[in-house]
């Protein structure tokens, strides 16, 4: 019987959640969706009915391996794979798929991001089951999220003919569109947001990598061989930096035949910026949200979001649509619509040599 495994890609180190996120505590290790658990721990918990923690493989960056293991006590330590350097998602997915195939040659695999939020977990599990079913049939499968707005920050998938109940042919992948095209996609109804999740048999994924990224396939074979012989660490150090830096979407999925898409609507969000944190949080009548309502005074304020350490009193007076993120050693204040410009702050601090705050 074939078992379902998961690969969770958890190597991200973005700057969009500064000052809460830092090099050593990136987004996926933060409880940004309002609960107690990190986004990563939520991801593991969410799939547990279909994929138990002992069949979850987490791929992260080397400097995050200890923190990642600590965040996931139910996941066996050896299931946390540490990349010596980041080489985009194709090497990451290929390496983890080889690891799984060595342990379970018939494995079905779900590849998930560590930093997404999902509101309707039951609907998501249904989609997950359907996608694993399509993977069992030999497809490379992706999940397309029914768009709710003309979002220009996501890639899209065009849906083709039905292959099975709730499973369609994927006609093509489309990069982040202009506003105009995004509106057209929304109107047409045949375009879905590319969720960045993949489902396949480990063997099918490896064959697809071999077919479309032969250099990567060859290197992964060498790594797999080294791992089987007990000297994976040395091979990783030598080979991983030479792998092509290419995404699994672009390098494999877009080129493969037999790509299927499972449409779904389950309150998906990629938690892309502080705006998402505000969107996901419960709000008062004037649209204000905070991590600790008992400690925050909104005095004639509206549409604001406050993230502050426990016990810190925060008062916002006469302001609108502000994001205020306070930590012990750094504070950020900006309008919600400037959330993408956090990067500029990080760059400014780097230029000042203040890396200790990044």
């Amino acid at each position: 019987m074939d078992h379902a495994w998961a690969i969770i890609m958890a190597g991200g180190s973005g700057t969009r959640f500064w000052p809460l996120s830092r090099r050593n505590k990136p987004k996926q290790l933060l409880a940004l969706a309002g609960g107690e658990r990190s986004l990563l721990a939520e991801t593991v918990a969410r799939i547990a009915p279909l994929v138990p923690p002992e069949r979850v493989i987490v791929v992260t960056a080397r400097h995050l391996a200890d923190a990642t293991r600590a965040d996931l006590p139910a996941v066996p330590s050896r299931n946390v794979l540490a990349e010596p350097v980041g080489r985009n998602t194709a090497p990451c997915v290929g390496w983890a798929a080889a690891h799984i195939q060595r342990r379970d040659p018939d494995a079905l695999v779900a590849v998930l991001a560590a930093d997404h939020h999902i509101t309707d977990e039951a609907a998501f599990l249904e989609v997950l089951g359907r996608a694993l079913g399509a993977a069992r049939e030999g497809h490379l499968v992706t999940v397309g999220v029914t768009p709710t707005r003309p979002e220009t920050g996501y890639g899209y998938l065009e849906v083709g003919a039905p292959l099975d109940e709730g499973v369609h042919q994927a006609l093509r992948f489309v990069e982040k569109p202009t506003r105009e095209r995004a509106e057209e996609f929304l109107a047409r109804g045949t375009f879905l947001w590319n969720s960045g999740m993949f489902f396949f048999r480990a063997a099918a994924a490896r064959a697809a990598v071999q077919a479309h990224l032969p250099d990567l396939g060859f290197a992964l074979d060498a790594l797999d061989q080294a791992a089987a012989e007990g000297h994976e660490d040395e091979a990783l150090e030598r080979l991983y930096p030479t792998l092509p830096s290419v995404s699994f979407d672009h390098g494999v999925m877009e080129r493969a035949a037999r790509v299927a898409v499972v449409p779904g609507a389950f309150g998906w969000s990629d938690v892309g910026s502080w705006v998402t944190a505000w969107e996901l949080a419960p709000k008062d009548a004037r649209g204000n949200a905070s991590t600790a309502p008992a400690d925050v005074v909104f005095e004639d304020a509206a549409g604001c979001y406050v993230h502050a350490p426990p016990g810190k009193v925060v008062a916002l007076v006469g302001v609108e649509d502000l994001v205020v993120v306070d930590t012990e050693d750094a504070l950020l204040v900006m309008p919600r619509h400037r959330a993408q410009d956090v990067r500029a702050v990080v760059e400014a601090l780097r230029a000042r040599g203040r890396d200790e705050r990044l």
Copy 2:
């Protein structure tokens, strides 16, 4: 020969500088004018060329006495008088004047606020000397500041005939005016801002209190007698709460004959709110100011003021005219023009029972 003494009124406990100011660390004990020293310590240092610290009497509230003494190591401990309860300025001035008169019957006295800022110290000392000279002649003297804008937050003085070089008769005191009247005052040129400073012989002030506030005069005599007999503390406890709560301006100066005014222009500010702190601070090309420019990133921000603990990194992105005051346990964010509404925050916290942050 008569010596110049000073009475510094330092019992204030306003809320307009929350969260930096607290019940136990009010405005006068804070370095709000940008330097290292508190406003109170600056006041003592500023007058030192004319009034040495051993002739400075500081009147404060009982719960602030220790902090006040610690803030002023050069002022003898016994010179810091602690009121058991606040009863406005007439009792405060009268009590301190009696204290001075006991120690130096011929004393000349300058009464100053602990929480004002003065830019041009040389000009101020000249005015101080002139006002003490007029006090020597037997006048009750006040200093009127040449207005630079139609300010509605200050009281005004109408200037009359000259009495001496740079000394005029004071015709009348005017309460805080409407905008329209303030503009009229500015146009007329015979109205000055009431600085709240007084100058007199200790004996003349006591006689004026006796004449215009006889109940207070009688109580102060009893206090003075008790102090001379070595049991002032007991008498203070018993008598002080019974004193009339009235200002020295209203209760004495406005009713007295022979009131003189010395006009002056010396960059005076009453440091009334966070707006003043911004006004007094050096600014960058876009009007931003902060307590620690090395730690603050203004990214497309203008007209903002940041007060933060040493070492805290603060980033403001895409905002204008904001005041951001951060402390270890409380944070305030508001537009500059809402600075008067800090009180509403203090009230809200009190209503929530969060007095530990006030």
